[in-house]
Amino acid sequence: MNSPKGENTGARSTGLAAAAARAFALHRAGDSSAMEALVDDVTPLLWHTARSQGADAATAEDVVQTTWLRLVEHSDAITDPQAVLQWLLTTTKREAWSAVRRSRRTVPQEPWDEPPTSDPTGPVKSADPAIATEDAHAARAMWRHVESLPERCQQLLRLVAFVDRPDYSAVSAALGIPVGSIGPTRGRCLAKLRVALLADPSWEVTA
């Protein structure tokens, strides 16, 4: 995702949910190109949504395509353009979860109840040494802490990392985690992460 993190400025401060609402309204008004930029902007988030539900790469790709096609098919059924981003996230999550459940032939109660070690989505590739910079090192160290969190928090942080503040609530809601989990306050998952970081002597962080 190209969207920079941090302080939002200008049009970006409106977030993906607002961009999705605008694009969808234009699409319904007959602008055939309106959805293209939206596909570029939102697809990374949907990809990580599918992956965080346990879908392997091929399944995740199918799920993302299916979700966008459903949006075209059901465009008349979506009454509130403001809800489009959340609809996309929820549909991706549900599709991915069903696909994973079908492929496992078992029925976990909830995806996050499974032991984290069974998570086949987990990034497995090791980093390319050529780009193993200091930042990549820090990113790997951060990821180890994320992996120590409850599954639900891992899912939330994976997705929140790909959006800016205005979209935190859409992501939380789509995951079924109450609004206000993250933003304006730090929320439970980022607090757990901070506790882990504070307890890590190799990590420089201030409380």
Binding site: V39, D135, R188
Partner: protein
Amino acid sequence: MTPHENQEDVLAEQALDAEDLRALGLIRSHLSLVDPVPFGLGERVKFAMTVASLEAEIAHLMSDSLTASATRATEYDRATTVTFESTGLSIMVTLEPVDRDKVRLRGWVTAPGAEVELRERSRSQEAMADDEGRFVFEQVDHGTVHLLIRRHDEPGTRPVITPGIEI
């Protein structure tokens, strides 16, 4: 309540700060590195959406003098020709370099007078096939394009779309 839980409660109620944003940035960096979005997924999604929304028929690639359709040639020293076919239509496309950045796309379709739309990444151009089915787009940017053909000589036919043509 243990001190540990208490610390977490306190932290949870505090406002997001720069460290949180840094943490999220690092999570994003890590995932982008080890689990990147597959190359071209966005383009494949858009193509599928276009086909679905237009109820278009996808023309099939018949021959391709581009060494491989996926090859993005950086330089054309000769014209290249691609042929597509659908149920009722054949489309031939020839690409010639105009200058460093632009390519001329000449085409021929077995439907004289058909409306031809060239869909580029962020825009589209339109042309009409002449009485012999010829059409031309003089200025095409490098990238993936699709041709969308709507014929008017046979009412009720579905529009035909080509798979991506790498220019």
